[in-house]
Symmetry: C2
Subunit: 250 residues, 2 copies
Amino acid sequence: MADASAILAIQDSPFARKLAAFVALAPQDLAVMSDLYRRRRKFAVGVDMIHQGQSDQSAYVLASGWACSYKLLPSGARQIVDFQIPGDFLGLRSVLFRTSDHNVEPITPVQASVLSQRDLLDAFMQTPRLATAVLWAASRDEAMVVEHLIDLGRRSAAERMGHLLLELGARLRLVGLAEKGGFACPLSQYLLADAMGLSAVHVNRVLRELREEGLVTFQRGRVVFDDYDALVEFAAYDRAYLDHDGPLLK
Amino acid sequence: MADASAILAIQDSPFARKLAAFVALAPQDLAVMSDLYRRRRKFAVGVDMIHQGQSDQSAYVLASGWACSYKLLPSGARQIVDFQIPGDFLGLRSVLFRTSDHNVEPITPVQASVLSQRDLLDAFMQTPRLATAVLWAASRDEAMVVEHLIDLGRRSAAERMGHLLLELGARLRLVGLAEKGGFACPLSQYLLADAMGLSAVHVNRVLRELREEGLVTFQRGRVVFDDYDALVEFAAYDRAYLDHDGPLLK
DNA sequence: CCAGCAGGTTGATCTACATCAGTGTGATGC
DNA sequence: GCATCACACTGATGTAGATCAACCTGCTGG
């Protein structure tokens, strides 16, 4: 069982901050989380954490660093499905199915807590509130994938880019990793291209356009919202979808 | 409690057939399902079953007919996220969040069983196996959305079309609604266009190309796979992803 | 101190798809 | 028996974004 200082530490973790936005967490929930959070592993940039087609994978909670989940096509093209930031689950689907249907790769050096299928189910039995919170978080992830699908299907390259940056901003704010007006962002234009179904060259042009329009500036690893409201308008971003202002379940 | 004849009837339903592919269901699971399945509603073509932005929605299980879930953009464009066929859940996310983030519309006349949040949670408490099966089904749905995202991001129009038709075939086969070599399909070229992020005009051309290549024929409401293996190859379709050959959990 | 390299930037050309503006056809209604 | 409507189909033209081929910048390492 976790001791008091560990519980204080967990309360400030990105994972707890995120779940707390969905469900008000009691001390015993935090204690269970603290136990879950214990087994840490480090991963170097570019070394896959989860492999497509491989079975018996663990799931993880990102403690620090950024990662991305992606699929490779026989043609060699790749599509990034989502980026993961601290507090995010990854590989939940890989533990439910026997084999993983996607890859996960660190973008920066990463620290993550390892969760076996057993750990997870045990934790859920102990505190149903936690299970509910995780189910909510998983549904939020699915809603983001759907939003991403809309990006690729029906939005222009510039709208997509604006939407992605707004979404990342909202997610980082939730876990305390964004300052007002911007955030530090380790994504290269190649990664952005693979996420948005564009070429790196075109990503570059789109970023220039957004900068020249005075909407956002993304340069040397920092995103700055030059005119937040105008960008929201331009990208048809639905504020309601990630910006909650309090736990949904008290 | 459901009687014996009701249990026999449920066993043949698309819903039970689908879940049985994931988890071997015991008689008491079927009894609970039969109770869930009781409250039926009918919906006419084009009348939304679930509304974007509206709260306190029910979830449904499709008993007969086809539906589609979609989002509308301020520009008036729409993107179909997925098609639903008999046995599919719909609106699971709408009951988890307070308000729905998407619409669901019947494509043909539809019969569906209504599930309140309460019904669902109660059923899960009674038979955890059923809960597991539903969680699996939800994860499969998410995997399909991800695959659809790959379509839009990195596959050509023709590959997308091939992929969609193969996927629909596999899903229909699972619930006993496809014959070998093809299936009845009520989707208009407009619906296909909205699903694949194309114009209806281009859908028409793509269908012609696939037909002329001798891969698939989609005409007057029937899809016929002229050369299944070649189409799988062409569309880079991963057979493993929907074609299971037995319950994953005994 | 320079070599090598990853990432960013720019211009020229090509192409897959959209858009527009029709024609054809079979089902439904009065 | 003709009007209407939904859907399928076709050709001409326009455009967003890909691809190729440079060059530039700031790091890292020997």
